[in-house]
Subunit: 121 residues, 2 copies
DNA sequence: ACATAGTACCTTGCATAGCAAAGTACCTGT
DNA sequence: ACAGGTACTTTGCTATGCAAGGTACTATGT
């Protein structure tokens, strides 16, 4: 295991949340999402995104429609379903709770490092 | 896929970071970690924690020693190696960057929802 | 008409990792 | 010796990220 791998692990799951958020703003297609996630430094690739969108669609949280493009093949524009909106809310709550939990752990470390109290030895 | 599953996904990877943090404070054994992670609402189980500790050990980031217990079987007390400390720093940087990225995506959604600008239709 | 390039979406195969459940082993008290 | 509690380990299943390769449509140049 290396640091790159660990960073990948950390992004997992959160990606799903970010994608739902992006779609919640209005209709977008996959390349739009890739651009935005890349510019937010989330490093996603097609092989991850497409299967994820398919999963979200099959779970009933997304829907899409084909839209002709003036330059290239048609695109799938995604939207959130009503169920998807509820799910996104739940994910957002989870995210904030998780961020709080992490903050609690980090903060605890900083507290204790001031008056170091190792255990056995 | 359901919400519980999605929440599990979101915790992945971050768990590793939290465990390293907990160990960085001083020597602990697995049940200590389970207690702390549970009280921080991170919901971890043995089947996840033990293989994870083994992986971190095999990667050279943790070391442990057996310590006799006054009530029960001996315990493995873990410590961070020097390499592990470097790794933890990298993970912490990644975490803050990731939290920033998520914040950027969420914030962008809030901005746009004020003056809704859906695309095609 | 044909070839090339660009864009967009999809699929296959592999490796990693979470988790439930079952298993092993040690210690203490009766 | 046996029951109960504690601690660590292993097995088998499943989900999922990702690299790489594939399909298909459009536009442009010759």
């Amino acid at each position: 295991m290396n640091i790159e791998n660990a960073q990948v692990q950390m992004r997992k799951g959160i990606l799903e949340f970010c994608i739902l958020h992006i779609i919640s703003r209005g209709e977008v297609y996959a390349s739009d999402m890739l651009d935005e996630l890349t510019s937010a430094k989330m490093m996603v690739v097609e092989g991850t995104l497409y299967p994820l969108l398919t999963r979200l669609k099959n779970s009933g949280w997304l829907d899409y429609k084909w839209v002709e493009s003036s330059s290239g093949p048609p695109r799938k524009y995604y939207v959130l379903t009503d169920e998807g909106k509820i799910f996104l809310d739940a994910m957002q709550t989870t995210w904030f709770e998780l961020a709080d939990s992490v903050k609690a752990v980090i903060h605890r470390s900083e507290e204790l490092s001031k008056s170091d109290t190792s255990k056995p030895s």
